[in-house]
C-alpha cells in the first residue's frame, strides 16, 4: 500500500484536511500562548472537555452541545483577566484541570457506558475516529480555520502588541480585553476540535511544539509565527501518514513528528551558534 493509494481514499483526505487545519490553528495560537506563559492551558482545558464528555455520556446528549460552551467558558475565565484575579494563571489551570479529570473519572465509573477503560483511554490519547470523519466535520473545520486565519491576519499587529507588552497596549488605547476574550474563545474551540485528533493528554503538544521549534531558530515575531505554522502543518501531515502506514495511533504519531521537528530545529540552532562562534574568531 503506497501513499498515492491512501491519498485517493476519501476518509484519508478528510482526516488529512482536518488534522492539518486544526494543527495550523493550534500553532498560530501557540505562539501567543507560549509567550504569555500559558503553555499548559491546552492541558487544563482539554481536561475540562474530558469532564464535559463524561457528563454528556451520562446525560445521553451530543458531546458538542456541552463541551463546546463549557470549554470556551473555562478558557475565557482562565485567559481573560489573569492580572486581576486572586488565583494566578498556572494555579488556576492546575485547579480546574485536576477537578474536571477527577469528576470525569468518577462519572465514568459510577455510570459505566460501555467499556470504561477503553472510553477513558480513547478520550485521553485520541481515537481512530479521525479516520471516520463526516463531511460536516470537514466543513466545520474549514470554516473555523478560515475564521481563525482572517482573525490572525487582520489583528496580527494587535496580537503582537498585546503579547509583547499588555500594559503598554492598554495604556495607549488598545481594547486588550476584547482581544483577550476573542483569543480565549478561539483557544477553547481549537481544544475541543483537537480532542478528536490527539486526545486530552497530547493537545499541549500541538500548541507548544511548533512555537518552541520556531523560537530555536527565528528571532522576530513574524518569522516565528510563519515558521511555527509551517512546521505544525508538516508535523500533522507526516503524523497522519505515518499512522496510516504503520497502523499506530494518529495522535501519538503527530506528536512524535512534532518532537522530531523540534529536535531538528534544536540541532540547527546549535550548529548556527557554532558557525557564528567560528566566524567571530
Amino acid at each position: 500500500m503506497t501513499i498515492s493509494y491512501f491519498l485517493q481514499q476519501l476518509y484519508v483526505q478528510r482526516a488529512l484536511i482536518v488534522s492539518v487545519l486544526v494543527a495550523l490553528c493550534a500553532a498560530l495560537l501557540g505562539v501567543s500562548l507560549v509567550l504569555r506563559r500559558y503553555s499548559l492551558i491546552g492541558d487544563g482545558l482539554s481536561h475540562v472537555t474530558f469532564g464535559t464528555m463524561a457528563v454528556a455520556a451520562v446525560l445521553g446528549v451530543t458531546e458538542m452541545y456541552i463541551s463546546m460552551p463549557v470549554t470556551v467558558g473555562a478558557s475565557i475565565l482562565l485567559l481573560r483577566g489573569s492580572t486581576k484575579s486572586k488565583l494566578k494563571g498556572d494555579a488556576a489551570i492546575a485547579l480546574i484541570s485536576v477537578s474536571s479529570l477527577a469528576i470525569a473519572y468518577l462519572l465514568f465509573s459510577k455510570f459505566p457506558t460501555g467499556n470504561v477503560s477503553a472510553d477513558v483511554c480513547k478520550t485521553l490519547f485520541g481515537s481512530s475516529s479521525i479516520m471516520t470523519l463526516r463531511p460536516e466535520d470537514v466543513k466545520t473545520s474549514v470554516i473555523f480555520t478560515a475564521f481563525v486565519l482572517l482573525f490572525f491576519v487582520f489583528f496580527y499587529n494587535r496580537i503582537f502588541a498585546i503579547t509583547f507588552d499588555e500594559p503598554f497596549a492598554r495604556a495607549t488605547g488598545c481594547h486588550t480585553t476584547v482581544y483577550n476574550i476573542l483569543l480565549a474563545a478561539i483557544t477553547g474551540i481549537v481544544i475541543v476540535l483537537s480532542m478528536k485528533m490527539v486526545g486530552a493528554l497530547l493537545i499541549t503538544a500541538l500548541i507548544v511544539f511548533p512555537a518552541l521549534s520556531a523560537m530555536r531558530v527565528f528571532k522576530s515575531f513574524r518569522t516565528v509565527t510563519i515558521c511555527s505554522s509551517i512546521t505544525s502543518v508538516i508535523g500533522a501531515g507526516a503524523g497522519v501518514f505515518f499512522s496510516l502506514l504503520t497502523g499506530l495511533p494518529v495522535g501519538s504519531s503527530i506528536v512524535a513528528a512534532d518532537l522530531l521537528i523540534f529536535l531538528l530545529f534544536l540541532l540547527i540552532s546549535v550548529i548556527c551558534s557554532l558557525i557564528g562562534r567560528t566566524t567571530q574568531k
Binding site: L35, R37, V153, F154, F155, Y156, N157, R158, F160, A161, T163, F164, D165, P167, F168, A169, R170, A171, T172, G173, C174, A214, M215, F218, K219, S220, F221, R222, T223, V224
Partner: protein, 242 residues
C-alpha cells in the same frame, strides 16, 4: 488648555493608599517633572493617569478631547519575557498601532515615523536585532522609540534616562526638549535627576504620600521643601563648577 485634570485624587493598590489629596492640571505644552523619594508613588501616579490603575478616590479626567490612544508611555519596568522573539523594528512599530484605530495594517507614514524615531535614538543599526539580545540601556532606548511613535500630543515617561549612558542621556534630554518646544508635545516625566528637572521643566510636582508642591519651577525654588530637596544636588553642582 487643560489635557488632564486631577482633583483630590488618592492613588494606591487594593484600598491601600499610596498618595492622597493630589490636585493638579496638566496643560498643553507643559514640561512637568514629577519628583520624590523612592516609594513615594510616582509610578503609581503615572499608571493611574494612564488608566492602568483605578484611582481610590477623587476625580481624574481627560479634558479637551484628549483620547487614550494619543498618549505615549514609557514604563519604568516591563514584564516582557526574557525569551520573547521580537525584532527592534517590530517593537518600535507597535507604538504606531494606537493611531490606527480599526485599520489593521501599518501605512507608509507609520513606517516612516518608526524609522524617524529609530534614527533619533540611534537604533538604525540595531533595526533587525533581536530585542532580547540587547543591553538594558539599548532596550530602554527601543521602548523610548516606541513611546515616541505612539504620540504627537502627550508623552508620559517614567524615569526615561535610568540606565542610559551620559552621552545618550544628554541627547535624550535635548530631544525631549525639542519635542516639547518645537512639536508642542506635552511631557510628563518622572525623574530622580534633579538638576535636569531644574534645567528643563516648566512645572514641578513633588510627591511624598501627600503632594508637597505643585507649581512652576521658579516658585518651587523659593519654597523650603524645594531648597531642602534640591540642596544636596545644588551643592554638588556648585562643587563641579569650582
Amino acid at each position: 488648555m487643560k489635557l488632564i485634570s486631577c482633583k483630590d485624587l488618592s492613588i494606591g493598590y487594593d484600598n491601600h493608599v499610596v498618595a492622597s489629596d493630589l490636585s493638579f492640571d496638566i496643560c498643553d505644552g507643559d514640561y512637568l517633572c514629577i519628583i520624590g523619594e523612592n516609594g513615594a508613588g510616582k509610578s503609581t501616579l503615572m499608571k493611574t493617569l494612564l488608566g492602568l490603575q483605578k484611582p481610590i478616590s477623587g476625580e481624574l479626567s481627560y479634558e479637551n478631547g484628549l483620547h487614550q490612544n494619543e498618549i505615549g508611555y514609557l514604563p519604568q519596568q516591563t514584564d516582557i519575557q526574557r525569551d520573547f522573539p521580537a525584532s527592534v523594528k517590530e517593537v518600535v512599530l507597535s507604538g504606531c498601532l494606537n493611531a490606527r484605530k480599526f485599520r489593521p495594517f501599518f501605512s507608509k507614514s507609520d513606517r516612516k515615523r518608526c524609522q524617524e524615531s529609530m534614527d533619533l535614538l540611534g537604533l538604525t543599526d540595531l533595526k533587525h536585532s533581536c530585542y532580547r539580545e540587547l543591553s538594558g540601556g539599548q532596550q530602554q532606548r527601543v521602548l523610548l522609540a516606541r513611546a515616541l511613535c505612539a504620540t504627537k500630543k502627550l508623552l508620559i515617561l517614567d524615569e526615561p534616562v535610568a540606565g542610559l549612558d551620559p552621552i545618550v542621556t544628554t541627547e535624550m534630554y535635548a530631544m525631549i526638549e525639542r519635542l516639547n518646544k518645537e512639536e508642542a508635545v506635552t511631557v510628563v516625566m518622572v525623574t530622580h535627576d534633579v538638576s535636569a528637572s531644574l534645567q528643563y521643566a516648566s512645572k514641578i510636582l513633588h510627591v511624598s504620600h501627600h503632594p508637597l508642591f505643585f507649581g512652576t519651577k521658579e516658585e518651587y525654588l523659593n519654597t523650603k521643601i524645594g531648597q531642602a530637596f534640591l540642596g544636596l544636588s545644588m551643592a554638588q553642582e556648585g562643587d563641579g563648577k569650582q
